[in-house]
């Protein structure tokens, strides 16, 4: 291994008596991308926070260039050349790209004012250094999420000479093309001798860019070594602490597919049209069927789901449940008809972080738990207890705030919110995004189970594996229109990819 730039040695960390890290050691070598994987609660975030000075280790130590260090604050770590890039973009949306890049240390002219000419020139320079062609005068908010993320990354790299870069799921909001750009930057940094720690749930990415990998489970390091020596299935099995043959038999996802569906559709969406967004999208779902919606970012997957759920208005077209027309543009009407939507952005549109698990679960069910405008606490408690148990929501109790739960458990709370409405159609928009492998498997198994019980399910996932393994029928969208449908045994990654990539889709590469 190359020179070790940053190292954790036998780090132990406890929170309120609970062991979060139990003697974890990790070495980040210059010119290497080191993958870090594990379920939520395995200790990944804690380890990152210890390396970057957010937390202090209870036992063991952090060594920087071979010397023991104690970073008291994240700023100290940053000054020592350790940059961290988080999932969320911490930039100012109303300022230009250039201003964001140099926020806090803008080039000034003799009057002490910002020297725009120099600012823009320097901004173009640093972006160019990473092969990025972005208009530096544009307001950040007018750019796509992926581009914003790239700006954030370049900012983190240029603020202080970064020798160690830690990336915490940087690709969760990126399109494939943007991921390529990011990986080019990663490669370049590696070539410059930077040490990278890369946290991701996406196995493809790990195998694409990492040289070494460390697996954490329950606060302990269960594997570390070159990634080439650890096959995919073994990695998943190690992460989950499960038997390899079990994983091999059942595939990487818990989705089974091949459900027996009834003949009459439970959901019929006809000619959904919205200017510039949806172009005559039709879709039927039968009870017990999982219909996958595939498409690139911006193809109209989420928009289709939102239209069906009454969250967005339509210019033309309509939705029927069980043959009865649903009033359009009203979430209330859609919910009453038995449609449930698990939104794509769990934090922004799903959970209410400051409210308890109980209040989050019963949110949509409030009217049916109420008589004369008063909520029956007893009935609410029963309902909450039932679903916390059924979905195995891990929490200190129904009073815990949802904001304190892991992503997987938050997602289960949202599922519970909808399941207690006894829906007939479940629209799932990225149900497993950003949740750990264990919770992912649980959610996938649940989706299967629900379909078996006769729910109609529409599944949107950027994880192609999920769509291919889980869906009985895949509808492929492109530019807001249906570009093809694949059914049964024809559902393979190749077929779906081919439909994604034909003609119009080819334009994007």
């Amino acid at each position: 291994m190359a020179e070790v730039l940053l190292e954790a040695a036998g780090v132990v960390k406890r929170f309120a008596g609970v062991l979060a890290l139990d003697g974890v050691s990790l070495q980040l070598g210059g010119g290497e991308v080191h993958g870090l994987v594990g379920e939520n609660g395995a200790g990944k975030s804690t380890l990152i926070k210890i390396l970057t000075g957010v937390h202090q280790p209870d036992e063991g130590e952090v060594r920087h260039l071979g010397r023991p260090v104690r970073f008291a604050t994240p700023l100290e770590a940053q000054q020592a050349g350790i940059s961290t890039i988080y999932q969320e973009i911490n930039l100012v949306p109303l300022l230009s790209v250039a201003r964001n890049l140099f926020l806090g240390h803008e080039p000034l002219n003799r009057l002490g004012l910002i020297d725009s000419a120099r600012l823009h020139r320097q901004a173009r320079e640093v972006l160019g250094r990473y092969g990025l062609d972005i208009d530096v005068t544009r307001e950040l908010r007018t750019l796509g999420v992926g581009t914003q993320q790239m700006v954030a990354i370049v900012r983190a790299l240029t603020t202080g000479e970064a020798r160690v870069v830690i990336m915490d799921e940087p690709t969760s909001a990126l399109e494939p093309r943007e991921v390529d750009t990011l990986f080019r930057v990663v490669d370049q940094l590696r070539g410059e001798g930077v040490a990278l720690l890369y946290v991701s749930h996406r196995l493809d990415e790990l195998y694409r860019i990492c040289q070494r990998i460390t697996v954490l489970r329950d606060g302990r390091m269960v594997h570390t070594g070159p990634i080439a020596e650890l096959p995919r299935l073994k990695l998943v099995a190690t992460m989950l602490g499960r038997d390899l043959t079990d994983v091999r038999e059942r595939g990487l996802t818990q989705l089974e597919g091949g459900h027996v569906a009834a003949a009459a559709p439970v959901l019929t969406a006809e000619h959904l049209t919205r200017l510039h967004v949806l172009d005559d999208v039709s879709l039927t779902v039968r009870p017990g069927e999982v219909v996958g919606l595939a498409g690139l970012l911006g193809a109209g997957r989420s928009e289709t789901l939102r239209a069906i759920a009454g969250a967005d208005p339509l210019d033309a077209g309509g939705v029927s449940v069980g043959g009865t027309r649903v009033r359009g543009g009203s979430t209330k009407a859609a919910i009453a008809a038995g449609i449930a939507l698990l939104p794509e952005d769990r934090k922004a549109e799903g959970i209410i972080p400051n409210l308890s698990i109980r209040d989050n679960i019963v949110l949509a069910a409030l009217p049916r738990l109420s008589r004369a405008g008063l909520v029956s606490d007893r009935r609410a408690d029963e309902l909450v207890a039932t679903f916390m148990k059924r979905l195995q929501i891990k929490a200190s109790g129904p009073d815990q705030k949802v904001g304190e739960l892991s992503g997987g458990n938050q997602q289960k709370v949202l599922l519970a919110r909808w399941l207690c409405m006894e829906p007939r159609v479940l629209l799932l928009d990225e149900p497993t995004r950003g949740i750990d492998v264990g919770a992912k498997a649980e959610v996938q198994a649940l989706v299967d189970e629900l379909a078996e019980q006769g729910l109609g399910v529409v599944l949107v996932s950027s994880d192609l594996e999920e769509v291919v393994e889980g869906a009985d029928r895949v509808v492929v969208l492109r530019d807001g229109a249906v570009s093809g449908t694949v059914e049964g045994d024809d559902i393979t990654e190749d077929r779906v990819l081919a439909l994604l990539a034909t003609e119009g889709g080819g334009r994007d590469g």
Binding site: F15, I335, I352, N354, S370, S396
Partner: protein, 319 residues
């Protein structure tokens, strides 16, 4: 329970700050009473308690409505002007009897609140801007209605509302207590109350959850308007005069202070009724205590400002 709370900050020791945010207002109130019991003459007397509580009643009525509005991540700065509108309307209808005048005043409050709520919920105007319109325009309208004049009121029932007793308890105190209990009940037990905090906590999620977001928003502004009008009626009764020029002037700031000092975050998602009551009483007592000890009013204001800053700092640390 202690453990569950300790887990909140996940590492950063936020237990004291979180605890202080929740209970600081009660601790402050208890300390204040204790210190004054020792140093301020006649502080603990029944007469003095009555006076303080009667004085705080109008602010508290307004603050209780505001707490609901703030719970939805909104604000209503027009409450003082709504008080003026209600006060201006009373003399016009007092000839038909107290009940008619009261109903007219409350109706005006409801209409004003509906105006605010319509702008916020249906037009999508920011709450502070929407209610700013009525803050400015409402008092103007009140002065037009009242012809710019102060009018004495002589209706006995109305005057009893401001100065009477029931079972030895002054009517304004009784009325405010009833309203506080009602608002508390609504927040805790009603569907509407749950929807208020859900909308304040995450409006997009509430909308996707099929909640009647617009109706609830309209509702909280109407309630705020009605309670402001009620406060206007009580104040008019206390003054024995309808004075649309001065009534409720800057009361929106006092009411917001009570809510904030009580630990309700301005970012919504939470409504703390009892703490708002404590917050209003705390601010009232501080002022009274300083004045009783011969500090000038200017000092009282500065101390009040310090308490607001402290309350805000506590909230920041906790979040």
């Amino acid at each position: 329970m202690a453990e569950a709370t300790a887990g909140v900050g996940s590492g950063r020791r936020s237990l004291p700050a979180g605890w202080l945010q929740d209970y600081g207002v009660y601790v402050g109130l208890a300390l204040l009473v204790l210190v004054n019991a020792l140093f301020t003459p006649n502080f603990l007397s029944l007469t003095s308690a009555r006076v303080q509580l009667i004085q705080v009643a109008p602010v508290l009525l307004v603050a209780l409505g505001l707490a609901l509005v703030i719970g939805t991540e909104g604000i209503d700065i027009s409450v003082g002007s709504i008080m003026a509108l209600a006060a201006a309307v009373i003399p016009l209808y007092l000839g038909y009897g107290f009940a008619v005048a009261l109903a007219a005043a409350l109706l005006v409050g409801a209409l004003a609140g509906a105006f605010n709520g319509f702008l916020v919920a249906f037009v999508g105007v920011q709450p502070i801007v929407a209610t700013l319109a009525l803050l400015v325009g409402g008092r103007g309208l009140a002065l037009v209605i009242a012809n710019g004049q102060l009018k004495q009121v002589r209706n006995e029932t109305l005057l009893a509302l401001g100065n009477g007793d029931v079972l030895g308890i002054p009517v304004p105190i009784l009325l405010t207590a009833v309203v506080a209990l009602a608002v508390g009940f609504v927040v805790r037990r009603s569907t509407f109350g749950r929807q208020v905090v859900a909308i304040g906590g995450n409006r997009a999620a509430a909308a996707l959850g099929g909640l009647p977001v617009r109706r609830v928003l309209l509702g909280v502004y109407v309630i705020s308007g009605v309670l402001a009008a009620l406060s206007g009626v009580v104040t008019t009764a206390r003054l024995t005069a309808s004075d649309p020029r001065a009534i409720g002037d800057l009361i929106e700031l006092e009411a917001i202070t009570a809510v904030v000092v009580g630990g309700t975050p301005l970012t919504g998602g939470r409504v703390r009724v009892l703490a708002t009551v404590a917050g209003a009483i705390l601010m009232q007592l501080i002022r009274a205590a300083l004045i009783a000890n011969n500090f000038p009013d200017s000092i009282a204001r500065i101390v009040q400002a310090a308490i607001i800053v402290a309350a805000v700092l506590l909230q920041r640390r906790a979040s």
